[in-house]
């Protein structure tokens, strides 16, 4: 006790002139050098990350260039992808990538908002945390496992849904192309399961941060639970829902292995916009054609496709971050 008092005493009565107390002199020049060295090392690691990103974009672009130079069709508007014949057009891949992601979003987005609302507004507080962890587990399952489960277990059971929707075959999206499984629709459903936890996590975060004053004000006015949600939680969380959706979309656009296993390769022939046809996304096409990386030109064609995918996911993720940041600021 006495010891503590003695140590504490100088603090209680601060020295009148603290300037000459020399903490700097205690750290000799060797320590200062160590300090600068450590700062430089951490900064260097940061620089490594910056250089890495530049290298990824740079290498893809530089190595894709020779292929684009000999491309006999328009890279961005042609449907033909014939690597040996030097015809690289990405329209089919773009269509498959966008439609499969769109199916996933249509299913996953409302579901994820529902799950997030349940966890934050309905689940008993003691249950909410473990339940949230369980949903997070969905994100931990490797995509190849989703792939084999999707094509071997889920897709055959989706057949009736496909047939029911296919009865509206005058809509081009629902045309019957004679596929039993391995369609864009099957891929989209599995993707929906994969991006559900991503959207849920972001939405959950913003729903949790709904100002208590808003919630209480709504309740004080006699709002039901649903009205409280509609009046306070959803308006407050709109930016979170949108940015979560964009993050999920970014993941869906770039998903490789699940779709590589699920999607059937469409035969050469007339283009079908149907969701019930097979297809190849950027990622699944690159993955399934690794054997064609034989000459710099052929490899370059796939690198060009990869670069487009990179640009696509970059834009989507950037928009997601921008919306999230704006939501934080508001």
């Amino acid at each position: 006790m006495a010891a503590r008092v003695r140590v504490a005493a100088p603090e209680a009565a601060p020295a009148p002139d603290p300037a000459p107390v020399p903490p700097l002199r205690l750290t000799g020049s060797g320590t200062a050098r160590a300090d600068r060295l450590f700062a430089a090392v951490t900064r260097g690691a940061g620089g490594f990350v910056v250089v890495l990103v530049l290298l990824v974009a740079g290498f893809l672009a530089v190595k894709a260039a020779p292929a684009l130079r000999v491309d006999r069709v328009n890279f961005l508007t042609s449907r033909t992808w014939d690597v040996a014949g030097h015809r690289f057009g990405i329209v089919d891949m773009l269509w498959a990538t966008v439609t499969v992601s769109a199916v996933a979003m249509v299913i996953a987005l409302p579901l994820a908002v529902g799950v997030a609302l349940f966890i934050t507004q309905y689940a008993p507080r003691r249950l909410a945390r473990p339940v949230a962890h369980v949903v997070d587990l969905l994100a931990a399952i490797p995509s190849i496992v989703y792939g084999i489960w999707g094509i071997l277990v889920l897709a055959p059971l989706l057949r009736p849904v496909q047939d029911a929707l296919g009865s509206a075959h005058w809509i081009p999206l629902f045309g019957n192309e004679g596929y039993s499984t391995g369609t864009i629709f099957d891929g989209g459903v599995v993707l929906a399961v994969m991006i559900l936890p991503i959207i849920t996590a972001v939405a959950r975060d913003v729903f949790e941060r709904t100002p208590v004053a808003h919630l209480e004000a709504a309740r004080a006015l006699g709002a039901t639970r649903w009205e409280t949600i509609r009046l306070t939680v959803l308006p407050h969380g709109r930016s979170g829902i949108v940015s979560g959706a964009m993050l999920g979309l970014g993941r869906a656009l770039g998903e490789t292995v699940a779709l590589y296993l699920i999607l059937s390769k469409p035969p050469a022939g007339p283009f079908s916009p149907s969701l019930f046809a097979g297809g190849e996304t950027f990622a699944s096409k690159i993955a399934s054609n690794a054997a064609e990386f034989s000459t710099p030109t052929q490899t370059g064609a796939y690198l060009a496709a990869g670069l487009v995918l990179f640009a696509l996911t970059f834009v989507v993720n950037a928009v997601a971050r921008w919306i999230a940041r704006r939501g934080d600021a508001a």
Partner: protein, 303 residues
């Protein structure tokens, strides 16, 4: 909810409750279903000792026996090399962003980490291919997979490190400075040890994230059915690679027949589905255990 509530409002509230609870239950269905499928179809392979002790060398899809040891070893090696690079670099970047990062360069670094977070695995694999094989003329091998995984793991480690270091109260840093401890020593001896279990969580989640990654394997290394412990030469198996390989064998010729001792036609069992689900179960168990341990470590960090 009082009795004077209008019937329409009450109905809307009930409907919303049912729909939202329904969403939640529907969201859990795939998880339970998938885990059940993999466990029920894979467990009889995983419980044998040969599964853990043998490779698939010389084992055709019609032959019984063989195991997944080659794939487990391959995955362990590739992930270990990836972690050996990503963890120190990721920790340093996290330290930089939290302890030193001010100004333009820090913002650029943070932006670069954001970009890395969004890179699809196939793009990371293409990048490594473009550098190591197209440009430098290398051969496909396990270590290239590790390099592609670094691109995917690095942002996970950086972000979790940042999050954990920001949880360390500034009072601890100030107390350390007040004792005349230089900044680097404060970081190494005070900040990092305080956040240690949280950092472990981030590393384990990063490892779990890349252990099941398959896209780089398809481009950067061939599948070997035998044991190859050399990361730097030859084809190498891994658990996702083994699943993919068995998937290819699934449809081999449909139902095959052979002759038994009495000359009768008998169906031959195709072992590919068993091995496929066995490898999937092994992979899921590894990934989920890593997640569980990570969360336990994280919980200790918070209390």
């Amino acid at each position: 909810m009082n009795a004077t509530l209008g019937a329409r409002r009450r109905a809307a509230d009930r409907t919303a409750t049912v729909l939202i609870t329904g969403c939640f239950l529907l969201g859990l269905v795939p998880l339970v279903w998938l885990l059940y499928t993999v466990a029920s179809k894979g467990w009889h392979m995983v419980v044998t000792s040969e599964w853990w002790l043998q490779s698939q060398r010389g084992v055709g899809f019609r032959d019984p026996g063989g195991g997944a040891l080659h794939a487990i070893v391959g995955t362990a090696e590739q992930v270990a090399l990836c972690a050996a690079i990503s963890v120190p670099v990721g920790l340093l970047v996290g330290v930089y962003l939290v302890e030193y990062g001010r100004g333009t360069f820090a913002r650029v670094t943070s932006f670069a980490v954001d970009v890395l977070t969004g890179i699809p695995s196939i793009v990371a694999a293409l990048f490594v291919y473009a550098v190591a094989i197209t440009t430098l003329g290398g051969q496909r091998a396990g270590w290239l997979v590790s390099l592609a995984l670094v691109v995917l793991m690095l942002p996970v480690i950086v972000r979790s490190t940042e999050e954990m270091l920001r949880l360390v109260p500034d009072e601890l840093r100030e107390a350390s400075y007040a004792l005349g401890v230089p900044k680097w020593k404060t970081v190494v001896k005070v900040v990092v040890p305080t956040a240690f279990s949280g950092l472990v969580t981030g590393v384990l989640l990063g490892v779990a994230r890349v252990a099941g990654e398959t896209a780089p394997l398809l481009i950067l290394v061939g599948y070997a059915s035998g044991m190859n412990t050399d990361l730097f030469a030859g084809f190498q198996a891994s658990l996702p690679g083994m699943i993919n390989d068995q998937f290819v064998n699934l449809g081999s010729g449909g139902q095959a027949y052979g002759l038994d001792a009495n000359g009768n036609r008998v169906p031959i069992h195709n072992f590919a589905p068993d091995r496929l689900w066995g490898a999937a179960l092994t992979l899921i168990v590894i990934v989920l255990v890593l997640n569980l341990v990570a969360r336990l470590a994280g919980r200790r960090a918070r209390t």
